[in-house]
């Protein structure tokens, strides 16, 4: 340690002020940028959700005109998916993957900088369409033609910003794969990697495989609109249903891109606070890989009502239901990890447990939607809205929040306030259920999605949902305040932070040095087969 202290100061040299962030190639800085970007977009997308919920507080038209309402639902989805969940996971990957595998940095640091800095421009362009003639995109985030082709001046800007988002995430994914395959410390074999790294490796492959397909699909929209091609134009021999196939060939793997890293986060947090090694490590890896494979052969379950041969509907129904098997393996493994563990309930653990319960509810409504004949009733109703918000908000978003609470002391060197963390947890969990649970009921009763007005009998549940949405939204301000307060100060965090924390990242100081693992740790000599982790005290004294 003493021999490296003199060097560390020299290594920490980097530009200060704004140029540090613009020119940075450091994985920790870029991770921070991604996370802050995602946090800002979370509030913008959340503000749009509150406009939607305000309008839906009562039947009839209150605040906004239908066109603007529709552009709010469209933009809310695009921002939450591409601007919040994906950048947040890329931010976590940047911060954590090099630390978890004992690497010095990401494999392609300059491309890393580029893939982040594309995003603010892409979203500035996307948001600017709200002020254009004809308004922002209002045909739903799925951009189905011919409706999406009726978008005004906004269409080419929306399509180009989707291209930029795609480029950013493809470059991010290539970087993750290159890092994991090439930068692991000696002895960190693939089957010794923490599950967060595994789930991200698989997610990255999904991204590389499907983001270009989306790029192709929206390019066809662009040429159909401006260059007289007829990919989706029936008059010219095209077929609008083809777009739906192309879109969901991207779209279904995309929903696993949004959830697989969460599985990795939860698989890191549960063992720490249950003080037991993760149950069924290798089955977790295989389950993740199976989910990723199945995601490519289920896309048409989004379009059961569009018209398909019976054999197709049956195939996509059974393939979809099959996904419940590997997902069930994961849920059972998390429960078995907690079984007879010495559990404590710090904020990250609370969010992780809420994730398991609430994500499973979303999974069950997904199974209901997978049943083809039943889906004809549920299709495009609020039941679908309830389903995907259950898997995305108390699913992906809770996992991201849990990850921030879990690793924030490591990143900042300060402990957050448990009191405010727990307050944030309970408010979020109560309000998220008040928001989305009633949507199941109005959906089953037949309320269609993406409409600014509704029949009178849906009023009570819609009012509940609106109250819940405002409660959930304001509860996130506590989170914002807490993150800022923790960055600025607070009780000093220890290196290990959590009593039961395992893994290479906890062998570093809190906060870790700007350049970490400049001498790679030797995992081979210090691998503990029982805890499935490194003997971190030994790693620490050696380095």
């Amino acid at each position: 340690m003493s021999t490296t202290t003199a060097d560390e100061h020299h290594d920490d040299h980097h530009p200060s002020g704004i140029m540090r962030w613009i020119t940075t190639t450091n994985h920790k800085d870029i991770g921070t940028l991604y996370l802050w970007f995602s946090f800002i977009m979370f509030f913008i997308g959340g503000f749009m959700a509150l406009i939607i919920r305000s309008e839906l507080f009562q039947p009839g038209m209150q605040f906004v005109d239908p066109q603007f309402f529709n552009s709010m639902t469209t933009m809310h989805a695009i921002i939450m998916i591409f601007g919040v969940v994906m950048p947040a996971f890329t931010g976590l990957a940047n911060w954590l993957i090099p630390l978890m595998i004992g690497g010095t940095d990401m494999a392609l640091p300059r491309m890393n900088n580029w893939s982040f800095w594309i995003l603010p421009f892409a979203f500035a362009m996307m948001l600017s369409t709200l002020f254009m003639d004809g308004g922002g995109p209002a045909g739903g985030w799925t951009l189905y033609p011919p409706l999406s082709l009726q978008t005004g001046d906004a269409l080419p800007f929306v399509i180009f910003s989707i291209h930029f988002m795609g480029m950013s995430s493809i470059m991010g994914a290539i970087n993750v794969v290159a890092t994991i395959l090439n930068m692991r410390a000696p002895g960190m074999t693939l089957m010794r990697m923490p599950l967060f790294v595994w789930t991200w490796l698989i997610t990255a492959y999904l991204l590389i495989a499907v983001m270009p397909v989306l790029a192709g699909g929206v390019t066809m929209l662009l040429t159909d609109k401006f260059f007289d091609t007829s990919f989706f134009n029936a008059a010219g021999g095209g077929d609008p249903v083809l777009f739906q196939h192309i879109f969901w060939f991207f779209g279904h793997p995309e929903v696993y891109i949004l959830i697989l890293p969460s599985f990795g986060v939860i698989s890191s947090i549960i063992p720490t606070f249950a003080r037991k090694p993760l149950f069924g490590y290798s089955s977790m890896v295989y389950a993740t890989a199976s989910i990723a494979f199945l995601s490519f052969i289920v896309w048409a379950h989004h379009m059961f009502t569009v018209g398909m041969p019976l054999a197709g509907e049956l195939f996509f129904m059974f393939a979809t239901m099959l996904i419940a098997v590997p997902t069930g393996v994961k849920v059972f493994n998390w429960i078995c990890t907690m079984w007879r563990g010495a559990m404590t309930f710090e904020t990250p653990m609370l969010f992780a447990i809420a994730f398991i319960i609430l994500f499973t509810i979303g999974g069950f409504s997904g199974l209901m939607l997978a049943i083809t004949p039943a889906d004809f009733q549920y299709h495009d109703t609020y039941f679908v809205v309830a389903h995907f918000h259950y898997v995305l908000v108390p699913g992906s978003i809770f996992a991201i929040i849990a990850a921030v609470y879990y690793w924030l002391p490591k990143w900042t060197g300060h402990m957050y306030s448990e009191f405010w963390g727990k307050t944030h947890f309970w408010l979020s969990t109560i309000f998220v259920n008040i928001t989305f649970f009633p949507m199941h009921f109005v959906g089953l009763a037949g309320m269609p999605r993406r409409i600014p007005d509704y029949a009178l009998q849906f009023s009570d549940y819609n009012q509940m949902a609106t109250i819940g949405a405002f409660g959930f939204g304001f509860a996130q301000l506590i989170f914002l305040g807490l993150v800022i307060a923790t960055i600025r100060g607070g009780a000093k965090a220890t290196d290990r932070v959590w009593e039961g924390a395992q893994g290479l990242e906890w062998t570093l100081s809190s906060p870790p040095p700007y350049h970490s693992f400049t001498t790679p740790p030797n995992v081979d000599n210090e691998w503990n087969w029982f805890t499935r982790t490194v003997n971190d005290e030994a790693i620490k004294t050696r380095s």
Partner: protein
């Protein structure tokens, strides 16, 4: 670095795959008929060898639609016919441009149920060319069709639908059928 070059290659290939889905989809639809697209014409001599099956009767319904604001009147001479598989029939459609400007239209045929798509054989149809109608002009357009006797036993009704699209802005001059 080698890994990243390969991965960029995969990303490029998948962009191409997105485009490859277009002909793949068309091919699959041609073989299975599952998007109901019935835009092939068959030569009359090919269907001459069909044996008329007088013992079986199938109802064929004709549906006409206008896309968006296409301002034409378009209707079949009758809403449905009862036909025997293997025997050719003719039916007329009437179209009238009731506006005061000339418009080029394109009819797109679809068949339901999709398992019947490839069994409804058209030997003459107005749906393969752009059709120019001057202001106020009207026209009678014949379709000659035969139902392949191989039509699955359980299908009792076949629907043939035509939708007219306004293609005045995009039609190329040499493809217009100007009568």
């Amino acid at each position: 670095m080698k890994t990243s070059t390969k991965l960029f290659g995969v990303a490029l290939a998948m962009f191409g795959f997105g485009y490859a889905l277009v002909p793949l989809y068309d091919m699959l639809c041609d073989i299975t008929g599952f998007n109901g697209s019935s835009d092939n014409i068959t030569q009359a001599q090919e269907v001459a060898e069909y044996v008329a099956d007088e013992s079986r009767t199938v109802t064929i319904e004709f549906v006409t639609n206008m896309n968006q604001n296409m301002p034409w009147d378009f209707k079949p001479e009758k809403a449905k016919m009862r036909v025997h598989p293997g025997k050719p029939y003719q039916v007329s459609f009437f179209v009238n441009n009731k506006t005061d400007r000339s418009i080029i239209g394109q009819a797109v045929p679809k068949v339901a149920p999709n398992t019947a798509t490839n069994h409804l054989i058209k030997t003459e149809c107005f749906c393969f060319t752009n059709q120019l109608l001057e202001a106020g002009q009207s026209m009678e357009m014949p379709v000659v069709f035969v139902i392949n006797p191989a039509l699955p036993e359980h299908i009792k009704t076949v629907t043939l639908s035509y939708t007219y699209f306004d293609v005045s802005s995009t039609a190329s001059s040499n493809s217009i059928n100007n009568i």
